[in-house]
Amino acid sequence: MASILAVDDSTSMRQMVSFTLKGAGYEVVEAVDGQDALNIAKTKKVNLVITDVNMPNMDGISLIKALRALPDYKFTPMLMLTTESGETKKAEGKAAGATGWLVKPFNPDQLLLTIKKVLG
């Protein structure tokens, strides 16, 4: 089964994402911020990254940029979790190499639908 790296500094959001995805049979690795995620991604290749944007240490956009620069993650789908007000964030994210986004708030069904869409 596909593995997913879920990055969020909010424990509840991370738990929700992780719980939902695990329930659907995905393997989920959690990271608490961009730096943590980058370290994890370097040691374990995942099939998809889903990341919050606003985080301490390294934000989601910097994370995506850093990951895209790694040969292993050149084509890996990377989604960002953003709020509606984040139009500029979306553009910034895309410029950094984000595949797409999921608009907050979302419910578990919307999350699964999006992930399924990307991973097939």
Partner: protein, 668 residues
């Protein structure tokens, strides 16, 4: 798939309250005018997380409220707005309001909608965009064509794949909308030698049949906007129909309560009390993973020891007795370590209590018109959760006293050559088996004459009596004592200090005042690390075993007969290195028939309680143990001279002596 989001609520509440604490301390540390971007970012992030979480978990009121805060903070961090005291104050109020909202949700009570609306109004006014902040509900109608399908020209730019997008996914999504017929355009495909495998050279003309509307189709391509040329045209002439898009929106129904302009929401000083109220009834504790891991590790070792002993017991002969001893030693070590780790689970860092003080000091000093800076040290020092919860109120009281009576008004400070801003310092550190919490200020100190005068007025001290400094400070802890010339609503009517001392004593601690007039005051509180176990010395009197808490013991000695003196109407005293100490015989006090009546036949344990030293005569010292406390009061009744009880290794009950009350008993 139905996932019950309620299971994440507690985590969300916990992290949100933490986020609010972070916002609060961030706001308090913010320099008006020249704010630090990192600091604002931290505050923003907390608001942002709460907003995102509350919308996700369905707390729309909170989401809506935090959205306005977030907007304000966002403008500040992007430099569009300066940090003003007014903004900081309103944001602080908003933090309080959010805490109340969380508490209301937690207790399934109603949110104070009027207050929320009032604050939201203030925030809106600050934003200069009244009404817009609630994010206009996105009920816009969208034109959609009702037709047989769409013709889509999809021409990816060569870098499309490099963002992790895949045309195959797009086709798959289109298929979920209806029938898809895609024709690839390979005109741009270069020769094999020139082909860059990472680029996309293909384009597609797609015919989508079905009932999908234009928005749905555009939505499929939303992520590749800008990475491709895209035209979507209807297959046949379209009839326009209004249909609403179920866009997720942050806002809930706008609060329509009329705001009573007369409603004054005085920010109460007791803000923090409300918060702890909410926190304590939720009897859970967050434990760091490494503490749990240690515990698991310990239990693992215990299991190994147990299985080793079991094996040993299955075919035991005396030749293997040394193995049995080793095993039992190991078991003892395991048990000890396990006990320590379990106790550590109950430990919380002092910051748990300290964190609320910057806000309190900020609010209070404003109210009093004083300038005070708070410095905190040793916030990482750990203390038992129960002790922590009970020490909060006494600390609040002591800090209020410091601000009210200790630190002077700015003019006054300037006049005596001190900096206008007073300093209040909180410090927590370990010392022996205790934790010491110090509250010190560089204020006026304590006017001994004033204290003495008041004590004489109250009849606590006789006129003409000379008292040591220590004794004078102790007067402050007498019930009903207050020297404040004006009774203020900050530190109340002086009902506090005796209660403070009583509370600290109830925790097995002590409080001490040290002051220098004109220089400042230091109040130190000594507390045991935990209330559940106690380091004790077990002593024997005839056939009974008693425990003396180690914290009271100064030393033990065997006296020479010549050192024991009898003083008229004061009983016996013992001379220890030139100092005469009253001698208390435990057998007399408790009426035990003991063989050891002469002090030089037994052991004297020197104890220090309430600043006084006494010598306790016992038959023998048995050993030093960590004992688990069992309440005597709840299992039997309150008994003078006895604090609590414990159960010894052989199953017998041993009573723990209450040294303070023993000293008092002996005086009668």
């Amino acid at each position: 798939m139905a996932i019950d989001l309620a299971q994440f609520h507690q985590t969300f509440f916990d992290e949100s309250l933490e986020g609010l604490d972070a916002m609060e301390s961030g706001l308090l540390n913010l320099d008006v005018g020249a704010a630090d971007v990192d600091a604002i970012n931290t505050i923003f992030r907390a608001a942002h997380s709460i907003k995102g979480g509350s919308a996700t978990f369905g707390f729309n009121d909170i989401a809506k409220f935090t959205h306005v805060m977030e907007t304000l903070l966002d403008e500040t961090r992007s430099g569009k707005r300066n940090v003003t005291q007014q903004a900081v104050d309103i944001l602080l109020e908003s933090v309080d309001c959010l805490r109340e909202m969380f508490a209301a949700i937690h207790h399934k009570a109603d949110v104070n909608a009027a207050r929320v609306a009032l604050l939201q109004g203030k925030l809106d006014a600050l934003l200069g965009s009244t009404g817009v902040s609630g994010q206009a509900a996105n009920d816009g109608t969208q034109a959609a064509a009702q037709n047989a399908g769409w013709k889509i020209a999809f021409r990816p730019l060569s870098h499309l794949l490099c963002n992790g997008n895949d045309p195959v996914r797009l086709f798959r999504e289109l298929q979920s909308l209806g029938g898809v017929d895609a024709v690839a355009d390979m005109d741009n495909l270069p020769s094999f030698e020139e082909l860059q495998p990472e680029n996309c050279y293909l384009a597609w003309d797609i015919t989508l049949t079905g009932m999908a509307n234009e928005a749905e189709v555009a939505d499929v391509f939303a992520w590749v906007e800008g990475d491709c040329e895209l035209t979507i045209t209807p297959l046949e002439a379209a009839t326009v129909e209004k249909s609403s898009m179920p866009l997720p929106i942050v806002s809930a129904a706008p609060a329509s309560e009329t705001i009573d302009n007369n409603t004054q929401f005085e920010r109460r000083v007791a803000t923090t009390d409300r918060r702890t109220g909410a926190a304590t009834d939720n009897a859970s504790i967050r434990v760091s993973i490494d503490k749990v891991d240690t515990l698991v590790n310990m239990v693992g070792e215990l299991v190994i020891t147990q299985s080793m002993l079991k094996q040993l017991g299955e075919d035991f002969d005396m030749g293997r007795i040394h193995k049995l001893r080793d095993g039992l030693l190991q078991l003892e070590r395991n048990t000890h370590e396990l006990q320590e780790s379990v106790m550590r689970i109950r430990m919380l860092p002092m910051s748990f209590v300290f964190n609320r003080f910057p806000r309190m000091v900020h609010d209070l000093s404003q109210k009093l018109g004083k300038k005070v800076e708070i410095k905190m040290l040793g916030e990482q020092t750990e203390l038992d959760k129960t002790v922590m919860e009970k020490i909060g109120d006494p600390l609040v009281h002591l800090i209020r006293n410091s601000l009210d009576h200790g630190i002077e008004m700015p003019e006054m400070r300037r006049a005596v050559g001190k900096p206008e801003t007073g300093t209040l310092k909180l410090n927590a550190y370990h010392k022996g088996g205790n934790i010491i919490i110090e509250i010190s200020d560089d204020g006026a100190g304590i006017n001994k004459q004033k204290v003495l005068k008041r004590a004489i007025e109250r009849g606590l001290v006789k006129v003409g009596e000379t008292l040591s400094d220590e004794k004078i400070y102790e007067l402050i802890f007498m019930p009903g004592f207050s020297t404040a010339e004006v009774v203020s609503d900050v530190s109340g009517r002086g009902v506090g200090m005796d209660v403070v001392q009583r509370n600290i004593k109830a925790l097995g601690g002590a409080v001490e005042i040290n002051a220098k007039e004109g220089i400042g005051t230091i109040i130190s509180i000594r507390l045991p690390l935990t209330l559940a176990i106690l380091d004790g010395m077990s002593i024997a009197v005839a056939n009974d075993i008693f425990i003396i808490p180690m914290t009271f013991i100064v030393e033990s000695l065997q006296p020479e007969k010549r050192d024991i003196k009898t003083v008229a109407d004061k009983g016996r005293v013992v001379q220890v290195r030139g100092e005469y100490l009253p001698l208390i015989a435990l057998y007399q006090l408790f009426g035990i028939a003991s063989q050891v009546i002469e002090p030089d036949k037994g052991i004297l344990v020197l104890l220090e309680a309430e600043g006084k030293k006494v010598a306790l005569l016992v038959d023998a010292l048995v050993g030093q143990y960590q004992v688990v406390l069992k309440s005597l009061e709840s299992n039997y009744r309150k008994t003078e001279g006895i604090d609590q009880a414990t159960i010894m290794g052989d199953g017998r009950v041993a009573l723990i002596l209450d040294i303070t009350s023993l000293v008092r008993m002996s005086k009668r």
